[in-house]
């Protein structure tokens, strides 16, 4: 009894102290919050604010509401470029989803084979391009695909397929596909690693049980492994989506900001660059550029929301 009262007295002593404002939480949150606010939230909000203004030739800005957006979407000179960039960006994304994530999944499956020798060597080699600079990637691939002194035409000629070669990076019909595949080559390591990690997490007894029940390798993959790595595939998809709709560097490195031929490789990132910074004789417009950037933000936001509410909520996470 005395014990109880003692502890009771003690706790009443402590409670007022605890109910005070928990300063330590603020202290712990402050650095991250300050940096994030300063370098991420503030620029984002300011970009949106800027997109509601227009600048005249002296640089003075005036508020115009949503006029920049209506120009972007209704003026044929702007909307044509915008939708062209958007469509190209969708194709760019689709190629990544199918090829990059498909191959990534395949490679992860191969890597997780139990009797594979030298797995870590392959893993490192395949992941290596991801860590290289885009400028280097662009340069190397342009050199390899160069019709004058590239290795691609000579290799094809050596096996008698020389007629198959074309200036792929320079043709309207193939340029976007080629650039996308170069990007796939560079980044295939990321889905591979993520999926590989997910595959390793699946307990062997599940696979063994499936095998004992008479499932072949294909059924094991389709009915056991794939459902178990679906959450990871979801994460990979959304990462691909965000990265692709923010992409700019590779296209800029290979095709320049005018993203030729005939804007066939123009994606939202390069379109934004031209608008914001200008190009050759085109004088850049920070306000119109901010409108394009905001439009990109909205597109990415819609994509992420579709994923969050349409896909992620239906995914079941399994813990073992």
């Amino acid at each position: 009894m005395t014990d109880l009262t003692a502890s009771h007295v003690q706790s009443t002593d402590v409670v007022p102290a605890r109910s005070r404002f928990p300063i330590h939480i603020v202290v712990f949150l402050a650095p991250a919050l300050a940096i994030y606010t300063l370098f991420s939230i503030y620029p984002l909000v300011d970009t949106i604010r800027l997109s509601l203004y227009t600048g005249d030739e002296t640089g003075a800005r005036s508020f115009v509401g949503l006029q920049n957006f209506s120009t972007l979407l209704t003026d044929p000179n702007w909307s044509g470029q915008f939708w062209n960039a958007f469509t190209n960006n969708l194709i760019f994304f689709a190629i990544h989803m199918v090829v990059q994530n498909g191959i990534g999944l395949g490679l992860a499956m191969l890597l997780s084979l139990p009797r594979l020798t030298g797995g870590s060597v392959y893993r490192t080699l395949i992941f290596l391009p991801t860590m290289l600079s885009v400028v280097i990637i662009g340069f190397i691939w342009q050199l390899m695909l160069n019709p004058l002194w590239g290795i691609a035409p000579s290799l094809l000629k050596a096996v008698g397929l020389g007629s198959l070669f074309g200036p792929w990076l320079g043709q309207e019909s193939t340029a976007l596909l080629t650039v996308s595949l170069i990007s796939v080559w560079q980044f295939v390591g990321i889905p591979m690693m993520l999926i590989y990690a997910a595959l390793l997490n699946i307990p062997d007894d599940l696979l063994d049980a499936a095998t004992v029940d008479g499932a072949g390798p294909f059924s094991v993959f389709w009915f056991v492994r794939l459902p178990l790595i679906l959450p990871t595939l979801g994460v990979v998809s959304i990462l691909t989506f965000v990265a692709n709709f923010n992409a700019f560097d590779l296209i800029y490195a290979i095709k320049g900001a005018l993203a030729g031929p005939n804007f066939s490789t123009d994606i939202l990132g390069t379109f934004f660059y031209r608008t914001f910074f200008g190009f050759q004789l085109q004088v850049g417009s920070p306000t119109m550029g901010a409108a394009v950037a905001t439009a990109m933000l909205v597109i990415i936001l819609i994509g992420v929301l579709i994923y969050l509410f349409g896909v992620q909520r239906r995914l079941q996470r399994h813990t073992f």
């Binding site: 160069n146 004058l148 031929p261 004789l281 085109q282």
Partner: protein
Amino acid sequence: MKNLHSKAFRRRAGQLLATASVVAAALAFANAASAQTLTIESWRNDDADVWNTKIIPAFNKKHPNIKVQFKADPPTEYNAALNARLAGGTAGDLITCRPFDASLDLFKKGNLASVNDVKGIENFSDVAKSAWSTDDGKTTFCMPMASVIHGFVYNKEIFDELKLTPPKTVAEFHAVLDKIKTDGKYTPIAMGTADQWEAATMGFQNIGVNYWKGEEGRKALIEGKQKFTDKPYVDAFKELASWASYMGDGYKSQKYPDTQNLFTLGRAAIYPAGSWDVPIFRKQADFEFDAFAPPVVNAGDKCYISDHTDIAIGINAKSKNVEAAKTFLSWVASPEFAEIYANELPGFFPLSKAKVDVKDPVAAKFVGWRGTCESSIRNSYQILSRGTPNLENELWNVSAQVVNGSMKPEEAAKKAQDGLASWYEPHKK
């Protein structure tokens, strides 16, 4: 002996130092404002060497108390980087000026100061100043430095081997190209369309002046008296389109450095050139090369050249060293600078009225055309690239497409015209 010597030396050095410091201290008051460092913003990173070892030392001989620093960005990033630095207040004192609207825009935003009162500006003609003056011509905001001239550079050894003579007319030009093509050993024309500007600048603007008669056509276009769909422009696109069959394998993904290498490795006979290529070829080509002017349509026609005002230098209006910057600009306007610039960077031709001896024979040939042909500048640069769609971008796009064969010359002309007519009043009718 040695000791004595060094003692004497030391004493003398000490005296010298003392005098120097007294003088320096005395001057420090007077000079506090003028012993400064000027920073030059430029896109000519290729020329950094020449600036640092030739131009700036020559300037310092006359003005030892003004330090000058040359800071260059890659050409494609210059405009963006400069604008960002100007906005942030960290741009250099001297700003290398792109021609026409990019610089006019800077002036209107108050980033460039007027140079009307800078000594030496009187050394330049109105045409030379036009690229860096307000539309009414009253205020000039950059000191003109140099222009570049278009033409064709050819491999003399290949021409000798195939017994060819430099063509004067378009018909002769095609005869030469056909001969090189039938011989089969060399690529007749070194040009690619991957970078797009090559087709527009080295192609369309290079040969075009002969079709639209230089300044006459350029001004008519600005006044709205001519359209891109008129015969001269369509003909220029047609001629450009005909080059495709003479160009190298896979020219569609051939970039500018590829083109340069194709020529300097001796694999191509003719190179549609900008004069700025001359110093590069001088370094890289181990064969003799020469140049011919853009061929005229009919023998005996008056010839025109694209003599494009390309580079100038202005003062950052927010610079703290305006006086020193003005001193530097006056020096840039002097014949001494013109002489150094023309010969250290053959291919960039001074715009000042001073007579300058260009020593490089090929560069001299380019500049010699000024005497025999009429000079003009690129037709998309003045006023016409102010709207959306941007005419210069459109010309890059359609010129490359015409050569690629994905657009007919008439379609290219129509696209350029439609784009222009969509925003430019004189063309709206």
